[in-house]
């Protein structure tokens, strides 16, 4: 007798499961394919953007950046936070939050590691700047601008130190452990005498430059130069983050976020890239902390609480997890709303809580949902597929190069 001719030997559970899987997979395209990308104002806008030629995109970007730089001078009436709050300072605050959100987005959005203690790195950056420039500190002094790269390095080291033992954990467990990070730094700042607890550090340094009237250009009360400095750094970080996204690093992160085991099986050193995500995110957080410390001019242990840390996460989620433009938008929004609407500033956590719930229900991908583009030259390849069967792909690409 032959086993070949008989009925399929194992028609039972597995086959049924496979059939069910299959049905699910085939049902999906019709429902989720269109829903995810084509609905909504932002979706259509995003599609239009992608269809634009590169030069046109650059023109638009330059225009947007120019407007962003001019904002403190233009002080547009409806957008302005005055008379309640100084508009340039509000803009600086927005830019710092945007930078924080872009850094945190690397950790949460790309690699899918829910970090609730991101404030720790912000605090590390702030203290690095303060302890190396404030006259209250016993340490050696360096020029303020030097503290920006130093803050990145110190925060990255702390990120690696905290990441190596904890990144073996996954999901909820990791979130709970990271929640402790922020508290650890805050409590250390209270306990270690050199960090001066609540007394803190005054007269944190500032970039050089004197105005004609003898007031420093980067005075604590003068938001515009601080805003321009932060905006410039933000743009550079965005460009670098974009480079990472469209490389094997970005692909590895997204693969880890999507299915960590499968990523490992496909040859992705998942642990290494998780630590990298943590370290790079920490570096950006540290730099934002240093900028913040410089502008405010005062650092103590009261500013780095868990609530602010959650606010950072809210900024990322609000804007669109995984999308750097969304993170900028979310970060700026979270900083802007309490400063603009001072009457409701007291209720900001209530408002953000409600906003987050509504977003999770109606726009689970955030205000600006956009998919990461993970190939440096992907658009060319997709265009080739769209424009009919490639007759001679090799020749075509050589021309493109």
């Amino acid at each position: 007798m032959s086993t070949t001719d008989g009925p399929t030997p194992m028609p039972g559970a597995k086959a049924a499961q496979a059939a069910a899987n299959r049905q699910a997979a085939e049902k999906n395209p019709s429902t989720s394919a269109d829903a995810a990308h084509k609905t909504g104002w932002f979706g259509r806008w995003n599609e239009k953007w992608q269809a634009m030629p590169r030069q046109k995109q650059w023109l638009y970007l330059i225009a947007i950046v120019a407007v962003a730089y001019l904002l403190p001078i233009l002080n547009p009436p409806i957008l302005s936070t005055e008379p309640g709050n100084d508009f340039p300072l509000a803009l600086f605050s927005m830019a710092v939050y945007a930078l924080v959100a872009v850094g945190l987005n690397i950790v949460i959005g790309y690699a899918g590691l829910l970090d609730l203690g991101y404030i720790a790195f912000f605090a590390v950056g702030s203290y690095t700047a303060a302890m190396l420039t404030s006259p209250d500190s016993p340490f050696i002094k360096v020029p303020y601008l030097w503290t920006l790269p130093l803050a990145i390095v110190v925060a990255m080291c702390i990120g690696v130190i905290l990441g190596i033992p904890t990144l073996r954990l996954r999901g909820d467990y990791l979130a709970i452990v990271t929640l402790g990070f922020g508290e650890i730094i805050r409590i250390l700042a209270t306990l270690i005498p050199a960090m001066k607890g609540q007394v803190g550090f005054q007269n944190v340094g500032r970039p050089p430059g004197m105005g004609e009237d003898g007031i420093p250009v980067f005075a604590n009360s003068n938001g515009t130069p601080w805003y321009w400095l932060t905006l410039t750094i933000l743009i550079i970080v965005l460009l670098l983050a974009g480079n990472l996204e469209r490389s094997r690093v970005g692909r590895s992160w997204i693969a880890i976020r999507e299915d960590e085991d499968a990523a490992e099986t496909m040859g992705v050193p998942t642990f290494k890239y998780k630590v990298w995500a943590f370290a790079l995110g920490a570096g950006v957080g540290g730099m934002s902390g240093a900028l913040f410390a410089g502008q405010v001019g005062f650092v103590n242990n009261q500013k780095f609480d868990v609530v602010t840390s959650i606010l950072f996460v809210a900024a990322v989620v609000l804007g669109g997890v995984g999308n750097k433009v969304g993170a900028v938008f979310g970060g700026a929004l979270v900083a802007y709303i309490p400063l603009r609407f001072t009457a409701i500033a007291e209720y900001k956590y209530l408002i953000f809580g409600l906003a987050l719930m509504l977003i999770m229900i109606y726009r689970s991908k955030g205000l600006i949902p956009a998919r990461n583009r993970l190939l440096a030259y992907g658009q060319e390849a997709y265009a080739r597929v769209r424009n009919g069967p490639p007759k001679k792909p090799a020749v075509a690409t050589e021309k493109e190069v």
Binding site: T4, K14, P29, A33, A262, M266, R371, A381, A394
Partner: protein, 304 residues
Amino acid sequence: MGAHSESVPVSENAGGESPIELIEPMEVTEAVADAAAPEREIDVAVGDDLVEVKNLTVKFGGLVALDNVSFTIKRGEILGLIGPNGAGKTTCFNAMTGVYKPTSGQVLLEGGLLNGMKQHKITRAGLARTFQNIRLFGEMTALENVAVGLDARHKTSVVGALLRLPRHKAEERSAIERGMALLEFVGIAEHAGSLARNLSYGSQRRLEIARALATDPKLLCLDEPAAGFNPAEKEDLMALIRTIRNDGYTVLLIEHDMKLVMGVTDRIVVLEFGKKIADDVPSVIREDPKVVSAYLGEPEDDFA
């Protein structure tokens, strides 16, 4: 070029009644092997032992999932691994690819020990696999999924990617070319830009194979690649698997569908209750009384 059909170890496959002609290299074959993995050495020593599994034992607490199993996989063959549900096929797979740590025994790839290596290192050593329940990166396009596999051979560092150094650019270029070639090879090139989760079930299965091939494996392990396929799709899949082998890859195939296994494999290892009960060419396996009883039950078994 990749075809080396003359040296496939077993070719007395399926005496007569099999509907499949042996080894018909398709036209696309050669081009694909070159495009997907140009630096591969495929014409070396076909027929010698590529993978040796020696006395492999896996225990989960008191349960012995795999009991002293030994077999070899020869370079250039398609080896079938079959057995009833729960026989230990997938456990064997997982122990080989580093998902489980074997309780005892060894897995050797070209004489090098794989035990205890990290999974991603095993993949880079040359063992790639697909999953029984599809596990693609849903939010990535088909081409990006394949690119993740290709990245296993890439050397760009984080700094290199950050600053877009020349090597990064060159690797990105080659990823596009090789990725598209692989998608074309498995027949889903027109979906290169679609998100993996939006692909049809059959395309998802094919994409998994393309992604595994992208890691440039010496041994490709397919875990029930035809699950949920209709007969026509299975036919296509068999042709694809044969093409892959003709291209110079060695294939380990776990499969339930007897027709598929008998039609496509050169040799079959049969597991039952974690033990190896047979290891031979398909025509012998199908007549083996132990195998038949393992699948259909023994006649004297008392079911009352």
